[in-house]
C-alpha cells in the first residue's frame, strides 16, 4: 500500500536581480515614476532556479524515510510540497491517509497566551480535534515538563520550555503520515533523546514518517529508507545505509592519499606544510577492498620550516557521523628544518564497518596547535563477518576482536 507517491515533481522559483540604477534620491524618485508609466524595465534580469527537478519516488505505508542532502538540495521544498504549503510547478503527489507536518516546533504559538491555551491552539492548527487534545492534555503537559507554568504566557517561557511544549504537542498527534523537519536540531541532548524515542514509538506503531535531518545517526537509527537529494535532483533512494553512504561519499571527497610536490602549493602555514598523507591497507587473502579485518598503515609527511621546533603529530579518526573514534599523538621531539615523517598502524579487526575520516594536527611545544588539517583522508571499511547469522548493522564505534567474551559451564544444578 502506497502512502505517498511522488511523480515527477518540479518546483521552479524565479529570482529577479535588480541592478542598482539610481544614485540619488532625485533619480530614484523620477525613476520610480517613469517605471510606473512604462511597461517594463529592462535592467531587471530574471534567473530561473529549480529547487526540485523531476523527483519521483514512492513511499510505502509504514516506511520511515530519511531525507538527506546538503543545504539547498531541495529537502525543505520537498517537505513543503508534501505538506501542501506550496504547490509544485509540475508533477503531482498522491497522498493516502491523514497527514501532519511539523516543519517547525510550536507553529502558531501566540506569545500572549498561556501554555494551556497554546496547547489547544497549536493542536488545532496541527489538525487535532479538541476532544483529542483534551484526552491527551495531561500526557502532553508531563512530556513537556511544564506543569508549573501551565498558566503562564508562553512569552515568559525559556526557549527550552517553548520547544519542549511545541514538540510535546506534535508528538501526541496521531496521523497516519508524519512529516518532520529538523526539529531535533533544537533542545538539549536529553530532550533530543526523548524526541527520538518518541519518534521511534510512533514509527513502530506502523505509521509512515518522513524525516529531514542533518543528524545522520538519527536518520540511521530511525529510518529504514532514505532519499538523497542534490541540487534539486534525486540522486538515490533506497535502503538507508546505502543512501547515507552515498551521501557521505558525496560530501567528502573519498580519497586514500593526498600528495603535494612542493611546499608552495601544499596546505599549511609558514611553519609547517603537509607533503603527503595516505592510508595504505595491508590486504590479506587477496581481498581488494578494506574490510573490518584489514590492517591500515597511515603515513604522514610534512615539511618543517622552523629552525628548531619541538613538535608532535596528532591524529584524529572520526566516523561518518562526525564522532571522534580516537585521537592519538606522537612523543614531542625537537626537529630541525626539513621533511618529517610520521607513521601509525591501525590494526585489523579493530574498526567497525563504516566510513572514516582522518584529521591531522601538528602541535608545537606540546600545547600550541600550529596546523590542523581537517578530513585529510577518508576511507571506507566494509563489513565482513563469519560464524553468525546476524546480518543487521553491527553496533558500536569499534569492533575489537581481541576483546573476547568467554563463557564456560559452571558447577551446580539449576
Amino acid at each position: 500500500m502506497k502512502a505517498i507517491s511522488i511523480e515527477n515533481i518540479s518546483k521552479k522559483y524565479i529570482l529577479s536581480h535588480k541592478k542598482k540604477k539610481y544614485q540619488n534620491l532625485k533619480e530614484s524618485v523620477s525613476g520610480f515614476f517613469t517605471e510606473l508609466f512604462t511597461s517594463k524595465d529592462e535592467e531587471e534580469t530574471k534567473e530561473v532556479f529549480w529547487a526540485l527537478r523531476n523527483v519521483s519516488f514512492d513511499i510505502e505505508q509504514g516506511d520511515r524515510i530519511g531525507i538527506v542532502g546538503s543545504n539547498g538540495a531541495g529537502k525543505s521544498t520537498l517537505l513543503k510540497i508534501l505538506s501542501r504549503i506550496t504547490e509544485p510547478t509540475s508533477g503531482q503527489v498522491k497522498v493516502n491517509g491523514r497527514m501532519a507536518s511539523l516543519l517547525e516546533v510550536g507553529t502558531g504559538f501566540h506569545p500572549e497566551l498561556t501554555g494551556r491555551e497554546n496547547i489547544f491552539l497549536n493542536g488545532a492548527i496541527l489538525g487535532m480535534k479538541q476532544h483529542e487534545i483534551r484526552s491527551q492534555f495531561d500526557e502532553i503537559v508531563s512530556f513537556a515538563g511544564i506543569e508549573k507554568f501551565l498558566d503562564t504566557p508562553v512569552k515568559r517561557y525559556s526557549s527550552g520550555m517553548y520547544v519542549r511544549l511545541g514538540f510535546a504537542i506534535a508528538a501526541h498527534l496521531e496521523p497516519e503520515i508524519l512529516i518532520v523537519d529538523e526539529v531535533l536540531a533544537v533542545g538539549d541532548s536529553e530532550f533530543q533523546k526523548k524526541c527520538l524515542g518518541k519518534m521511534k514509538d510512533v514509527s513502530s506503531s506502523g505509521r509512515t514518517i518522513l524525516f529531514v535531518s542533518h543528524n545522520a545517526t538519527a536518520i540511521q537509527g530511525l529510518c529504514n529508507k532514505a532519499a538523497f537529494l542534490q541540487k534539486g535532483n534525486l540522486i538515490k533512494y533506497g535502503e538507508v545505509g546505502e543512501v547515507l553512504h552515498d551521501y557521505m561519499t558525496s560530501i567528502s571527497k573519498f580519497q586514500l592519499q593526498q600528495n603535494w610536490e612542493t611546499p608552495e602549493e601544499a596546505p599549511g602555514t609558514d611553519q609547517v606544510r603537509i607533503k603527503n598523507i595516505e592510508v595504505v591497507p595491508e590486504f590479506i587473502n587477496g581481498s581488494k577492498n578494506i574490510d573490518v579485518r584489514t590492517p591500515l598503515k597511515v603515513n604522514i609527511e610534512f615539511w618543517n620550516m622552523l629552525e628548531s621546533a619541538h613538535l608532535n603529530l596528532s591524529m584524529f579518526l572520526y566516523n561518518m557521523t562526525g564522532e571522534c573514534v580516537f585521537n592519538v599523538g606522537s612523543q614531542a621531539k625537537t626537529f630541525s628544518k626539513g621533511l618529517i615523517k610520521g607513521m601509525l598502524e591501525i590494526p585489523g579487526n579493530f574498526l567497525n564497518d563504516g566510513s572514516y575520516y582522518i584529521s591531522v594536527m601538528i602541535v608545537k611545544d606540546t600545547a600550541d596547535p600550529i596546523f590542523f588539517m581537517e578530513d585529510a583522508i577518508s576511507f571506507d571499511v566494509a563489513d565482513w563477518r563469519e560464524g553468525t547469522n546476524w546480518y543487521g548493522k553491527w553496533p558500536g564505534a569499534v569492533r575489537p576482536i581481541n576483546i573476547p567474551v568467554q563463557t564456560w559451564k559452571m558447577d551446580g544444578l539449576i
Partner: protein
C-alpha cells in the same frame, strides 16, 4: 483506506474537496477566532471595558459633531444618540472586520508558511472579534433605550441579518484585499485610510434621508455600508426609520458579487501565498 482520503497535490489545483475540508476543520475557525478575542485585551488594565469605551466614545463624538455642531439633531424626533448608535455599531463592525480580514493572511504568515489547512479559514475566523464588539455595542444601545425610555421596534429580530450582511460586505472587500496584500503591501496602507474616512461617505452619524433626494444618491449607495446601516436603523428604530429599498438592493448585489468574486480570486491564489510572504 477509502478513496476519499487520497489527496492529489499538483500545480494549479487546490484540493478537490475544499469545502468539505473547511467543514472538517471548523474547530480551527473557532480556535483562531477565540485566539484573536483572547489576545485582544491581554495586558490591558481596562480589559473588555474597551469594548464599551470605543463605541461609546465614537457615538458621543459623532453626536457632538453632527448633532450639536452641525445641528442635525433638530430634525430628529428621537434622541440623536439613538440615531447614531446603529450607525456606529455597523461602522465599527464593518471597519474592524475589513482591517482584520485584509491583514489576515499576512498577519498569520507564520501559519501559512508552516502548516496546511484551507487558508480561507483565516479570514473567516476574523469575524469573531468584531462580532463580540458588536454585541457589546448592542448592549450599550439597550442601556441608552432605558435611559431615553425608548422601546425598540419588533423589527429588531432582523438585526442579526444586517449584521451578517455587513460582515459579508467586509468579507467580500477584505478577502480581495487580503490576497493582494500578500503580494502588494500597498493594501496595508490603503485600508487604514478607508477606515479613517469611510464613515463620512456612509450614513453613520446622519440619516440617509438627508441625502436621498440628491442626484448622486444612487452612486452613494454603491457603498455597502449605507444599505446595512439603513437596514439596522429600521430594525432598531422601527417607525422612526423606514425601510430603504433604494440602498438595500445595491447592497445585496454588491455583497453577492464581491463575496463570490473574492472567494474565486482567493482560491486561485491561495497556493502561491507562501512564495510571496
Amino acid at each position: 483506506m477509502d478513496k476519499d482520503n487520497e489527496v492529489v497535490i499538483k500545480a494549479g489545483k487546490s484540493a478537490l474537496h475544499y469545502w468539505r475540508e473547511v467543514w472538517r476543520q471548523r474547530e480551527l475557525f473557532w480556535i483562531l477566532g477565540k485566539r484573536d478575542v483572547m489576545v485582544r485585551y491581554k495586558q490591558t488594565v481596562l480589559g473588555v471595558a474597551w469594548g464599551v469605551i470605543r463605541p461609546l466614545m465614537t457615538a458621543m463624538v459623532m453626536v457632538f459633531a453632527f448633532g450639536k455642531i452641525a445641528k442635525l439633531e433638530q430634525d430628529s424626533s428621537i434622541p440623536y444618540m439613538l440615531v447614531v448608535i446603529p450607525g456606529v455599531i455597523i461602522w465599527l463592525f464593518f471597519s474592524q472586520s475589513l482591517s482584520q480580514i485584509s491583514n489576515s493572511i499576512v498577519g498569520n504568515g507564520n501559519l501559512v508558511s508552516k502548516v496546511y489547512f484551507p487558508r480561507i479559514i483565516i479570514p473567516f475566523s476574523s469575524l469573531l472579534v468584531g462580532l463580540l464588539d458588536a454585541m457589546i455595542a448592542f448592549a450599550m444601545f439597550f442601556v441608552f433605550c432605558i435611559y431615553y425610555q425608548f422601546i425598540p421596534s419588533w423589527h429588531i429580530i432582523f438585526a442579526p441579518i444586517f449584521l451578517f450582511l455587513a460582515y459579508l460586505g467586509a468579507f467580500g472587500a477584505g478577502l480581495f484585499a487580503s490576497v493582494l496584500n500578500v503580494k502588494y503591501r500597498d493594501i496595508a496602507q490603503i485600508i487604514p485610510f478607508v477606515v479613517q474616512f469611510g464613515y463620512f461617505i456612509s450614513p453613520v452619524a446622519y440619516s440617509s434621508e438627508r441625502v436621498r433626494n440628491e442626484w448622486w444618491y444612487p452612486i452613494y449607495n454603491l457603498n455597502p455600508v449605507a444599505g446595512t446601516i439603513d437596514g439596522l436603523r429600521w430594525c432598531l428604530l422601527g417607525d422612526f426609520a423606514e425601510f430603504n429599498w433604494q440602498s438595500f438592493i445595491p447592497m445585496l448585489i454588491f455583497v453577492a458579487i464581491s463575496v463570490l468574486f473574492s472567494i474565486w480570486f482567493f482560491r486561485k491564489n491561495e497556493n502561491s501565498f507562501v512564495d510571496h510572504l
